[in-house]
């Protein structure tokens, strides 16, 4: 690798990631070369690129918006264990057992609803409400094969067991759920009133509200299985050309300052204890999290994918 430079691939939205990488450059003098990902490719372009580059890695650090992809890298033997010092402040639950990835700022899966179309008191509070007759054809989820939605499904399967989870999905289908192309698309369809309700991520919900859309947010499952928390993760690539710089960048990204910045820019909830949460940002303290084993869920995902694929295909 070149002296004083680090290559980072990220699936985190460029608007949020780029300013932080710039700050790092300015503060350390290390040049950051980034590769970003797009919605159009369901944010898997970077991952496919990492897999294809495995024989001659170009990338040092992979900054993912969710642990699923980090686990794919781990399983394919593309990442290597590492323990940045800053990881000490992160609860162990958000760190891979074999240290292949470390989590930090996180998003959550939430239900958004169109306030103009649905009074607050009629809004569901549990995923099981979504299969009710009154919401027929009024609920949207993103394609469950991709992104955070796929992870959400895996977590639901892990929490409910296969049988009950499948029944829930089949009921959803029977209730004419609308399959959107992405979480952004879910946000858009709820905001413009095409449907009433949609499952999406907190950052998308936050974005919609910033734009002034008539959108309300509900953390589902506070009475039952809880809300899925999705941390950002960092993986060190095996054979990374600039491992030292990668370590420094990892530490920087996990730092409390960065988590605070992300909280401000995209309402991500800091995972380090004691980081003050700005106003308007959801806080982990007030949410009942879903109990998930990120490693197992990733494996679960692989297992249920054929089922999900069929589910989507018969639905479209």
């Amino acid at each position: 690798g070149n002296e004083g430079e680090v290559v980072v691939y990220t699936s985190v939205d460029q608007v949020f990631a780029e300013p932080i990488l710039h700050d790092f450059e300015r503060e350390t003098g290390i040049k950051v070369k980034a590769v970003f990902d797009t919605e159009e490719t369901k944010s898997t372009g970077v991952l496919n690129r990492l897999i294809a580059e495995a024989n001659n890695p170009q990338c040092d650090l992979f900054w993912s918006g969710d642990p699923v992809r980090a686990n794919v890298l781990k399983q394919k033997g593309i990442s290597q264990p590492f323990s940045p010092e800053a990881a000490q402040t992160i609860p162990g639950h958000f760190i891979d057992e074999e240290k292949h990835w470390t989590g930090f700022s996180s998003r959550a899966r939430v239900l958004i609803y169109n306030k103009d179309l649905l009074p607050a008191n009629q809004v569901p509070t549990s995923i099981f409400d979504l299969t009710k007759e009154e919401y027929r054809g009024k609920v949207t989820v993103a394609n469950p094969l991709f992104g955070t939605t796929s992870f959400h499904m895996a977590a639901i399967f892990a929490a409910l067991g296969d049988e009950q989870a499948k029944k829930w999905l089949d009921d959803l289908k029977a209730n004419n759920v609308v399959i959107a192309t992405s979480n952004g698309d879910v946000k858009k369809r709820v905001a413009n009133g095409e449907v009433w309700l949609g499952l999406t991520d907190t950052d998308d919900a936050n974005e919609a509200m910033k734009e002034g859309a008539p959108i309300g947010v509900v953390f589902l499952g506070q009475q039952d299985i809880g809300t899925l928390i999705i941390p950002n993760t960092l993986s060190l690539i095996k054979g990374s050309p600039n491992p030292e710089e990668a370590q420094r960048l990892a530490n920087y990204l996990m730092s409390e300052e960065t988590q605070l910045k992300l909280a401000h820019s995209s309402a991500q909830m800091p995972l380090s204890k004691g980081v003050e949460v700005p106003e308007g940002v959801f806080s982990l303290d007030k949410v009942k999290p879903m109990r998930v084993d990120y490693d197992k869920s990733s494996k679960k995902l692989e297992e249920i994918q054929p089922y999900l694929k069929e589910w989507v295909e018969t639905n479209m």
Partner: protein
């Protein structure tokens, strides 16, 4: 003699563009490792067959409707002697300036704005509609080019016997048949390899299936084998086209070129202009207006911000696209010229192989091949992007040029040879000027395509650099609608004004040479 050059050129293309694919395929097919039979069964599933049929159906519908519209528009701009024909041409090209994805989004938004349910557009019909609008300009360019070059007295000889309408269908149309077929084939391939529009509109086709294999299952082998089915489809189309065209003479540029031919009466001219205007309104104005409204709704600030975001990328992308287009035209002309009037199936197959491959697969092939210590200097430099452009669009450039070359009688070059010109001299001074308008057309189309290439470029762009479409799409992921729209507008204006500039230069140049003195 030209055989040697053809070999040399093919060899070069194989080395830079085809070996990556072969390397990837040989690995996926287990050559050098154990064979994964499971991957092959993907091809045999009933679902795969259904998907293929679905894909062919959509591709064919788009090819036919876009070629038809392209013919009408090509006729309007080439046969009506319009005062502002160039401007109209550029306006009609606008759908090419935007990524297809944006177009799909804009149309959905349009329905929503009108308060209609967008579900009509979330359907195969919707995908056909959107793709048709996007690809019509290509057909239009190819056909207007071909129509303009028909010897006027051929037209007159028919006009004397039958009404012009019939002369058009019985004489003109068959004379532009090579262009019609090429345009149909080209658009068919573009349509069946387009991913973003069907994905956005939730229409299941082969590309979405391939994408799912890649991005949900990380199953490269199945994805590559499925891609093989796309290539198979394209090859069938190509064979059908070339077997139809072989041995049929289509020389239409007479050395004793006629002078007048058909010109529309003033009344007809108005009618045709109305048709073009109507089409322009529906196809282009509606989505662009929508983008403009969205972009400007919070005032000018987002436009300024969008410009700020994109200004570095615009220049970069412009440079790369220029190089890309230049190389595409060079290679394309080389291949089409060396093929001559014969059909060289091997060459055609080579080009279609790299053209029909889904962009992600192309990206992966490039990575696997170039990302080695020996070739790192290419992989980590912008060269890799240019190579990606070459692989993606050489087929298009070659088609446009070959079409045109077939219209030129051999005696024109022969006359130069006996006048003492060398082969190169004859090529440079006779053939090249005679196909100059096709070279220009191929350059413009290649340039526009390169400016918008996303699928492969995003797999291979060197870390730390960026390109216009990549920047738009990576920013778009979580940007407000108005900013997204503003970025699209900026990109559109940029590509549009560059293309406009190219046309203006061309137009001035042509005025000087008076277009072979046609009155």
């Amino acid at each position: 003699m030209s055989r040697i050059y053809l070999w040399a050129l093919s060899f070069l293309f194989v080395a830079i563009a085809l070996l990556p694919i072969l390397y990837l395929v040989s690995h996926s097919l287990g050559i050098g490792s154990e064979i994964e039979l499971g991957a092959y069964t993907a091809l045999l599933r009933g679902r795969t067959v259904r998907l293929l049929l679905h894909t062919v159906g959509i591709g064919a519908a788009v090819a036919i409707s876009a070629t038809f519209l392209g013919l009408v528009l090509g006729f309007i701009i080439s046969k009506n002697n319009l005062r502002h024909g160039q401007l109209l041409t550029i306006l009609l090209l606008v759908p090419l300036f935007l990524p297809p994805y944006i177009f799909a989004v804009a149309w959905v938004d349009f329905f929503v704005v009108l308060g209609m349910s967008p579900s009509v557009i979330y359907s195969p019909a919707g995908a056909i509609f959107v793709l048709t609008i996007i690809y019509t300009p290509i057909a239009m360019l190819l056909l207007s080019n071909s129509l303009q070059n028909i010897n006027a007295s051929l037209e007159e000889a028919a006009m004397i016997m039958v009404p012009y309408r019939e002369a058009f269908f019985r004489i003109i149309l068959p004379l532009v048949k090579p262009a019609l077929l090429s345009s149909g084939l080209l658009i068919f391939i573009l349509a069946i390899s387009e991913f973003s529009v069907p994905a956005f509109l939730s229409v299941q086709v082969m590309t979405t299936e391939i994408f799912t294999q890649f991005s949900a299952f990380y199953d490269f082998d199945s994805a590559i084998i499925l891609s093989g089915s796309l290539i198979f489809l394209c090859t069938i189309g190509l064979l059908a086209e070339s077997s139809y065209l072989t041995d049929k003479p289509f020389l239409t540029i007479g050395s004793r070129n006629g002078r007048s031919g058909y010109t529309a009466s003033d009344k007809d001219k108005k009618k045709w202009l109305a048709v073009a205007g109507g089409y322009l309104f529906c196809s282009t104005l509606v989505p662009i207006a929508l983008l403009a409204v969205q972009a400007l709704s919070p005032g000018l600030q987002h436009l300024a911000q969008a410009f700020d975001y994109l200004k570095a990328e615009m220049w970069q992308t412009f440079l790369y696209a220029c190089w890309g287009a230049l190389l595409l035209v060079l290679f394309g002309f080389g291949f089409s010229y060396l093929k001559g009037r014969k059909t060289a199936r091997a060459v055609d197959f080579m080009l279609i192989l790299s053209f029909a491959l889904p962009s992600v697969v192309t990206g992966i092939a490039l990575i696997r091949y170039y990302n080695t210590p020996a070739l790192n200097f290419i992989y980590t430099s912008p060269l890799i992007i240019i190579i990606a452009y070459l692989m993606r669009y050489l087929f298009v450039a070659e088609k446009i040029l070959h079409n045109r070359l077939m219209q030129i009688p051999a005696s024109l070059e022969q006359a130069a040879l006996v006048s003492g010109a060398t082969k190169w001299g004859a090529l440079w001074q006779i053939t090249v000027p005679l196909v100059a308008d096709a070279l220009f057309g191929a350059f413009v189309i290649s340039f526009i395509f390169c400016m918008g290439e996303l699928g492969t470029a995003i797999m291979v762009y060197p870390p730390g650099t960026s390109l216009l479409p990549i920047k738009i799409f990576t920013i778009m992921a979580n940007a407000p609608q108005s900013l997204t729209s503003a970025m699209c507008l900026v990109a559109l204006l940029f590509t549009g004004s560059v293309t406009g500039g190219l046309f203006a230069l061309w137009y001035i140049k042509r005025r000087v040479t008076a277009r072979y003195g046609r009155s």
